[in-house]
Structures are given as C-alpha cells and as structure tokens.
Symmetry: none
Subunit: 412 residues, 2 copies
C-alpha cells in the first residue's frame, strides 16, 4: 500500500501563533482513498531545513504533500526547496506570470513586484492552478514518487487538493477503499449519545463510528473499509439507518448539513416564508438563515430590535408590556413574534429576547436567560432557556436552538 | 541559544481523527522563555519510528518534548522508545506502582492489570508526577540534552508542563525573554504591505515582523528577544510606531482587536448611535456589531430587508426607485440608509445592498456587486465594490469593508 508524508511550513506554526489544521484535514482526505499518512512534519521558513525534511519524508512515503511557503515574500521558500531536492533550477513560467498579472488586473489592483517570484517553478515540475489566490501549487515526480506543494491558507489549499491533487493520488490507492461519511445531531450531549449508541461505537468495528463535538453540534463520523467504493457506501448507509433508529429526532441530518440548511430545505419544500425578530442575538439568526444560497425563497423580513424603542416602533410591542414584564420576558417575546408575522405577512415568525451578557443579569433574570417564540400556523409556542457560559456561547446556542425548534415543528 | 523539537505521538493524529493542539501550545510556552521550536513531528504508534524520530530531533534540538503514548494499552510505546534511545531497559519503579494503585483506590475503581506498565521507567530516567491521571511523565538526560515525555491529553499535559517541565527548561534559556505582540490591518493585500514595509520585514531581525492573513484581516506579528520583559516590550512598542508611520490608516488596531471592537469603541467614545439596513449581508453586520459586549450603548435598530417589499414597507424605499434602478443600485442603497436613519433616529446609518450569489448575477450586475452607504452627519457617502469568490466571502468582505469605512469616517 502506498503511503503519504505531510509537511507544514511556516515560522508561525513553530511559534504557536497559528495552529496547523491543514495536515489533519489532508490526512483525512488521504485516508478516504485508502492512503495512510505515516508522518507529519512542521518546519520553519528555512530552505535547507525544508529540503532536508522533504528528502526525509521521501525516504519512507510515496507521496509528500507540502503546505505553505508559496507566498510572494522572502520567507516563502518552498519552491526553492523543491528545486533543491529535484536538483534543478527555478525557471520563470510565462503562462503563470500572465495568470498572476491577470489576477491583479481583474481586481483592479496594482501587482507588487514581489509577486513575480510566484511565477517561478522548479524545472520539470508542473503548476497547479489556484483560482482563489496568486500562489500556484507545484507538482513534481521524483524517482516514481510524488511531491505536491500547496498554498498554506485552507481556503486556497482545500479546493486545490480536492480538484487537482486528490484525483491524481486516487490512482495510487490500489485496493482498499476507506470512506468516511458524517451525520449531524443536536439537542443532547456527547455522553448521552455514546450511552444510547452503546456497541455501535465500539472500537475495532468496521464500520467504525466516532464522535466529535463543536459548538453544540455533535458529528458522528462513520468510517467503512471495503474492497470497492460501492461496498463501503452500502456499509455506511446501513450503519446510518441503524443510528437513526436509535437516536431518532436527535439526528438532524444524515449528511453534512448545517441546521440552517436543513431548515431552509424544509421551508422551501413546504413553500413557507419566515420572518425574524431578534434582540439579544443581534442578527445572528438572520445571518445563519441567509448563509444558505437562495434565501430569498423563504426569508422575508428581519428586525434587530436591540432597543426598547425599536421593539415598540418596529414590531408594535406594547410599551406597557415592557414596563410591566421587562424586555426579556415571555410576554414581550410573544408580542415580538406577533408583530413580525403581522408586519411581514410571513407564514412563520421567530422571536428571540434574552440576556447575552456579560452585563445586564439579575438574580431573577440571569445572564443566559432567553425566550424563543415560534409562531407557526395557529400556534404560538414559547420556549424558555437559561444557557450557561459566555456571550458568544449564549448567542450561538440560542440561534441553533431556535433553528432546531423550527426543524422539530416540521416533524409534527 | 538552546532550541527545542516537539514530537506528538498517536495514530489518531495521523488519521485526522484528532487535531494536535499540544505542539502549538508547547511552542508558545517555550518561546515565552526564549526557546524557539525548530521542528514538530507527528508519528504513529510504532516503537521503531518513535525512537528514530527522537534521535533525529536530538540531532538538531537541545530539548525534545514528546506528548502521547504513555497510556496503559498496547499501542502506548513512548516509554519503550525512550529506553531504546537511551540504550537501557525498562525497570519497575515501586514508588510509581504504589502511586498508581493509590490513584485507583481513591476513586474506588478496580485497577486493570494493563496499568502496571505505567509504573515502568527507562533506567536512569526520572518520573514526572501526574496528579490528574495515571500516566506519569518521563524526564531523561542524554548527552547534555534533555528528553521529556508527557501524556497526550491536554488536561494532563498542561499542568505537568507548567509545574514540572518549564521550571527545568527555563534554566536552559540563558535569561532571554521572547515576546510576541500583534497588530491588525485591513484594506490592502499582504504583498502590498510587505512592499511598503520593506526592510521592516527582513528575516533575521530583532524585533522580527511576520505577516499572516485570514479573511481579509492582515495580522502583523512582532517578535522581540531581549534580556528583560521591559526591554522586549519597549522594542515592540518602537517597532509598532515605526510600522504605523509607514502603513498609516491601513493599521486599524495596534492591539489584537476586531474591526467591530474598534468601531464600537469609537462610537461609544463619541456618544454616537448607529442603525443598520442590510439586504445581501442578511444581518451579518448587525451580528458583528452586537458581538461586542455593551452594544446597547450604540446600536439601536437593525433591519434585514431581504425582500423588495421589506425595503419599501420597513425603510420607506420608493417602489419606483426599485423598479427603475433595481434593488441592487446606489439609489436604493441611498434610500435604505436614509430610511434607517430617519426611522431609528440614530446619528449614523449604514445600508448594504448587493448580490451575494451564487445565483442572481447578470452581466451588468455580477455576483459580488455591493453598494454600501455610510450616512454620517450631513454626508451620505456611496461606495461601490465588486467582491470576488463565494457567497460567504462576498458577505464577509462586505461587512468588514463597511466597518472599515465607518472607522475611516472617524479619522476625518
């Protein structure tokens, strides 16, 4: 079986200023086509050290993947190091130079002289196009092995890897296919999910089920190894059904979707429109629902009524209600939802009012207290939560919870 | 100057299941006592590969720090590898064994036999106590160099490093202090900044200036090495002033602030309030301005007028203007800003209308076309942009640009 070595380049990685997430991502991609990574190296911006490390990686691995050091400044030395390993010179590539000039021209920006270096390639190497930036990737053969260099920024590296590098690497795979697919859960903790799943999450299984958590969203990773892609896909599909049977509504997507994407899909499918009245989340729910392309199909009006006057003048909340119960109360939340739906004419409205903190909490109304109203059809449902932790956490968790409540509405 | 090499051990790191955050954390700690990390290695659970990597790291570095592979299972092989490097045997340490038994007894848990191995140490090595778990660390001398192994879980590694390892390492540092501070720029590219800064960014300088980019925000890292903390701080302060003198308004923060924080600070300082009328950014600008604690002090009203009807009914945009010029036009942007300011009574309003994509673009109005109006005092300034790339990029860049335009208003 062929194997890979990964090298991440940059002083900022060695000083702890930046965290190397590229290597982990690349190793997952490689594993999906059956290629294990046997070592990962992080080195600084030094041409001798970089070329030594490439040579060392080539000793054991068949494919060496490098990220970083392809920029236009003096500390970008990956192209020089590859030339050194190959024993060739750097040579100006006219086509690359015109692509880079074109990149700046299209954006109406002056091209700095330093960008010229990005048009130089080691002789015998080929360029990998970068539609997002000026740093082309580099691909070279070395004694039947493969050297690939890609830019460091993940937004440039990832599409280059998927579109240009992975297809070439797949041919090296020979035999076993390892596929990973993910499904998404919300509404309970990791340990509860592990308990419910029991043996499904046992080690050493095939398919293997792993679990990671980020911002309240629980991702289940299902890894299947098989002779063919179709077999692995079948195994994963079976395991997904089994998991859905156990977890039920906790699973919000059998694919890698966001909660907003799932809700958007349901709204579009039902031809329903939605309006939002946000206070403490300050537009975050509107932002999430409009992250999804085609949001014009379901999203009509959003209000960020941060002040009491805004709640009164824009949503028709009664000033007396605010005086009597406070801006953070189920009564005000209810009037916000009613106002939003009436004024927008939408099918559904969601209102949110709460105390995101760090200030503004009292004993009766602590930081983290949030009311969410879902006004759908004839029903106005009031939900009350007290979320812990920071301002960011409260806002994020509130918005995800609102999306999840709306998702569950569609299950009825 | 002494230097360090870091080795992270574990198959889960090579398969991308776990992200190695230990190395980055350790390298920051080391730098704070003047020890640069010259290489980071990630290898799997293989005793030969681990011992080869330790030897290799010792070739160049004076201190080799290892995390992972100290657990009780068969794939925990760090102690064996260190014994191999030192050319000694593993030996049962009675004191360690009783500590481990005690650990289980205190928790009223049966001790598995496999845990015995954790009481074995390479001869000549010393144990580092682990109050949090059963995996002791290992410290050994090797030809005037230092080998340190710590458990992989950050919650066990971090206290062990701080309490037991760092004090020993500090003696190697020869009194040098290395400080890093950051400053933030927006409004131009990395290469233009590098060109303007010229020698300021030369390699091998002290203080050293590095540059990283993320989402359009350019961060300059200023690293100074000196005998005392005060000297290093003075050097950084001087370099920051020099950079500000060259880059001028491109620098938006001499500290590590977000653009929204800087704008919020200016609004509060001036006692000005702001309202927002967003179309294509769908609440993202409101979200960013309310990310900052205390946003009630300056933020009043926000509208997410995604549909034409919302623009008309909520902001008083003239339907004829939309018919004549389209929703994405400077005329509509202008009426949105005027409506927002009139209806909210705020001192300043910002309006945004554009085509975030991926659909909806035409030849005359391509995806990425955005109008931003800043209505401040008597002046209404209309800004037109065509941002490239994805929906997410267009939305993100639009909002940062709006914040930056407002920041520059305050410079006048």
């Amino acid at each position: 079986m062929k194997s890979a070595g990964i090298i991440s380049i940059g002083n900022e990685l060695l000083s702890g200023v930046s965290l190397d997430t590229n290597s982990s991502w690349i190793s997952r991609q490689l594993l999906s086509v059956g290629i294990p990574t046997i070592s990962i190296f992080t080195v600084g911006d030094d041409v001798k050290i970089i070329s030594d490390t490439i040579k060392q990686a080539l000793n054991k691995a068949d494919i060496v993947l490098i990220t970083g050091g392809l920029g236009p400044t003096d500390d970008d030395l990956t192209r020089h190091a590859i030339a050194d390993v190959l024993g060739v010179e750097l040579k100006l590539n006219d086509e690359l130079l015109s692509q880079i000039s074109e990149f700046f021209k299209r954006r109406n920006i002056r091209m700095a002289k330093t960008n010229n270096i990005q048009a130089y390639l080691p002789e015998s190497a080929t360029a990998l196009a970068n539609p997002v930036g000026t740093a082309s990737g580099i691909m070279a053969d070395y004694k039947n092995k493969m050297i690939v260099a890609m830019p460091g920024p993940p937004t440039e590296m990832m599409p280059m890897f998927k579109e240009l590098v992975l297809p070439k690497i797949e041919k090296y795979g020979h035999g076993q296919v390892v596929l990973t697919q993910r499904m998404k859960c919300f509404g309970t903790g990791e340990s509860v999910i592990a308990e419910k799943l029991g043996d499904v999450m046992a080690r050493g299984k095939n398919p293997l089920v792993n679990c990671t958590v980020s911002g309240g969203i629980i991702t289940l990773h299902i890894v299947a190894a098989a002779k063919t892609k179709e077999q692995a896909e079948d195994m994963i599909a079976g395991e997904k059904n089994r998991i859905c049977g156990i977890l039920g509504d906790i699973v919000y997507s059998k694919e890698e979707k966001t909660l907003a994407e799932v809700v958007a899909q349901e709204l579009l499918k039902r031809g329903k429109t939605i309006s939002l009245a946000e206070s403490c989340t300050g537009g975050l729910l509107a932002k999430m629902l409009t992250d999804v392309p085609g949001a014009t199909g379901y999203f009509t009006y959003g209000w960020v009524t941060y002040s009491n006057e805004a709640k009164i003048s824009q949503l028709g909340v009664n000033g007396d209600t605010i005086d009597k119960y406070g801006a953070v109360s189920e009564q005000v939340a209810l009037e916000m939802a009613i106002g939003a739906r009436q004024r927008s004419g939408s099918d559904i409205s969601i209102s949110i009012t709460g105390i995101a903190g760090p200030g503004g909490g009292t004993e009766q109304k602590p930081v983290g207290l949030v009311y969410i109203v879902i006004y759908n059809g004839g029903a106005k449902k009031i939900h009350k939560f007290v979320f812990p932790h920071s301002r960011e956490y409260v806002r994020q968790r509130t918005v995800l919870t609102a999306l999840n409540l709306l998702r569950l509405e569609f299950k009825d």
